[in-house]
């Protein structure tokens, strides 16, 4: 672990990525300590202020401190990303292995389902779901889980298909090992590496999607702060003040950039062959 961190730090972009991600995680975890104000406390007298020593990023139309809202918004972003990607990973691994290792007809059905889910542009699918179920954080998580499963599932399936014919797997089977044992002891450790990279590169996409849905008013409910809802406030106030847009976008852009740099650095570290794939 220490060695991995040391090697990431030797790559300047990896180091920048790591710093940005650590800053996000720490500021989100300590939001209640760092934030100078309550993120949802109204203060109409101080509304629409620019940055000052009292309000580092200014205030919004209800006088809420934007810096505090940005800090708490980081919590929402991180929570959605971690929960949804972990669930999608688990389900994707199971489905992908079943598709790759199971009978051909099951494989066909699962792949068709994956393709169908992927044939909806994500945002359209998200909008349709939110319209029917109503906006909430858990709806956002469910949407991300459903739309991410096919990506992981397909990778696992392909890996399983190629490994299934390897001699050591054949040998294991001849010795009478159960399918469960072959999958969990031999195949799983081999697919985890690429999946881990894929998931770390997916975090920025998920954070951006959460922000996008909240921007459309279809993510977290007000007054809960999210970077997307801060940007939505900024959009409505665009002719009065630029600060909410600046406050909401800076962490969003920095964090997506940080996770991307970190993910690419990790990818080069774990699997240099993939370096030229993008």
């Amino acid at each position: 672990m220490l060695q991995v961190i040391r090697r990431i730090c030797s790559d300047p972009l990896g180091l920048i990525g790591l710093v940005l991600v650590v800053v996000l995680v720490v500021s989100a975890a300590l939001a209640s300590v760092i934030a100078p104000y309550d993120p949802i406390a109204l203060n109409i007298i101080d509304r629409l202020q620019g940055p000052s020593f009292n309000h580092l990023l200014g205030t919004d139309q209800l006088g809420r401190d934007l810096f505090s809202r940005v800090l708490y918004g980081g919590r929402v972003a991180l929570k959605v990303a971690l929960i949804s990607i972990s669930i999608a990973l688990c389900v994707g691994v199971v489905l992908g292995m079943i598709a790759g290792f199971g009978p051909r007809w099951l494989d066909n059905i699962i792949v068709l389902l994956f393709d169908t889910v992927r044939s909806f542009p994500t945002v359209m699918f998200a909008l349709a779901t939110v319209a029917l179920v109503g906006p909430s954080l858990s709806t956002v998580i469910v949407i991300i889980v459903i739309t991410s499963i096919p990506t992981y599932g397909r990778v696992v399936r392909t890996q399983t298909l190629t490994m299934k014919t390897n001699e050591y797997i054949q040998a294991e089977r001849v010795m009478g090992a159960s399918s469960f044992r072959i999958l969990s002891v031999h195949l799983l450790p081999n697919v985890v590496g690429p999946l881990f990279i894929l998931a770390s590169m997916d975090i920025p996409t998920v954070i951006a999607l959460e922000a996008g849905l909240s921007f459309l008013g279809m993510g977290v409910k007000p007054p809960t702060p999210s970077w997307g809802s801060i940007l939505n406030d900024g959009y409505n106030l665009i002719r009065n003040t630029p600060w909410p847009i600046i406050a909401g976008s800076i962490p969003l852009v920095l964090v997506t950039l940080g996770f991307t740099f970190l993910g690419e650095s990790l990818r080069d570290l774990i699997d240099p062959k993939l370096r030229n794939s993008l």
Binding site: L112, S119, I238, L252, T256, L278
Partner: protein, 314 residues
């Protein structure tokens, strides 16, 4: 090739049908009567009953789905219950706006991104290459709606170089073009980054191949080697990437159309979902799914045509 073509197109059709069925199921499995949700809390039972009849909700679900498909073949996508206009007319009225936006964005992004990637590859590992690389990643990771917000803030509100909302007067070409600049920029920026990285990678690969070495050995000028022989091959993967990227393009278009209050498929979907206008939701989501499936199928077919190994995999 013909067999692959039939299989791939068949798969595309199957996916569209499954997607529509899924959408139907979603609308109907959610608690509450769609007609009641559509009409709001103050609707009388008679009104709800007549709306259900109009929407065909009184029939069993499989019959409804079959009817939807049967009507689709005659070009009938149902009636908009709010304005009482045919859904097909509404959707196809909005489609040109989105298509022109997407195509402008992609053409613009190709004009900037491909030369950038080419330049990066030819000046590999120089400072300029590094800067282009970092900028490309920054372009890729910044969400389209953030770019849209900033371009609205800077170029429309503060500098007032471009109009802020709408799609321009009908018939006035230059007005429409000036309304297209900022939204197309918002969608295209991430593609500039994406295309430049892609072209850089494939250019580096192509430049190492035998035919390039041969061309150089014949003493052809570097300009001819790069543009006539290398770039032509290196650009090929972008065609398929754009095909697969249709989903991202449509999503980005949705956000941009909302930020710039520009008519289009994305805004239509958003508005019809907000007003729970289900026939329009079905029609517009169907068309965007078809757009997406057609473009991915086309890019797969082009790929298979270029690379016989892929044909064997389906």
């Amino acid at each position: 090739m013909l067999l692959y073509f039939i299989k791939r197109v068949g798969l595309g059709l199957l996916i569209v049908m499954l997607a529509v069925t899924l959408l139907f199921l979603m609308i109907h499995l959610v608690p509450g009567d769609p007609a009641r949700i559509l009409l709001g809390p103050r609707a009388t039972p008679e009104l709800i009953a007549s709306m259900s009849l109009q929407l065909g909700l009184d029939k069993p679900l499989p019959v409804q789905i079959m009817m939807f498909f049967a009507n689709l073949f005659t070009g009938d996508m149902g009636m908009d219950v709010i304005t009482n206009r045919p859904v097909a007319e509404i959707v196809f009225g909005q489609l040109p706006y989105t298509l022109s936006l997407i195509f402008t964005a992609i053409i613009g992004a190709s004009l900037i991104g491909i030369p950038l990637g080419c330049y990066s590859a030819l000046n590999r590992n120089t400072l300029a290459d590094r800067v282009v690389g970092i900028l490309s990643v920054a372009c890729i990771t910044t969400p389209a709606f953030v770019v849209a917000l900033y371009s609205l803030l800077i170029f429309a509100v503060h500098l007032q170089w471009f109009p802020a909302v709408g799609a321009g007067e009908k018939g006035d070409f230059w007005d429409q073009v000036s309304h297209l600049v900022l939204p197309a920029f918002a969608i295209g920026l991430s593609w500039v980054g994406y295309l430049s990285r892609l072209v850089r990678a494939s250019m580096l690969e192509v430049m190492g191949e035998n035919h390039i070495r041969t061309a150089r050995a014949y003493g052809l000028p570097e300009r001819v080697v790069v543009f006539r022989y290398a770039l032509k091959l290196a650009v090929l993967p972008t065609v398929t990437v754009i095909g697969v990227g249709m989903g991202f393009l449509l999503s980005a278009a949705l956000f941009t159309e909302i930020v710039f209050a520009r008519p289009g498929l994305g805004k239509l979907i958003f508005d019809s979902i907000s007003t729970r206008n289900y026939p329009v939701v079905m029609g517009s989501v169907l068309i965007s799914t078809i757009l997406f499936v057609v473009s991915t199928t086309l890019s797969d077919l082009i790929n298979a045509w270029l690379d016989p190994r892929i044909r064997a995999s389906l």
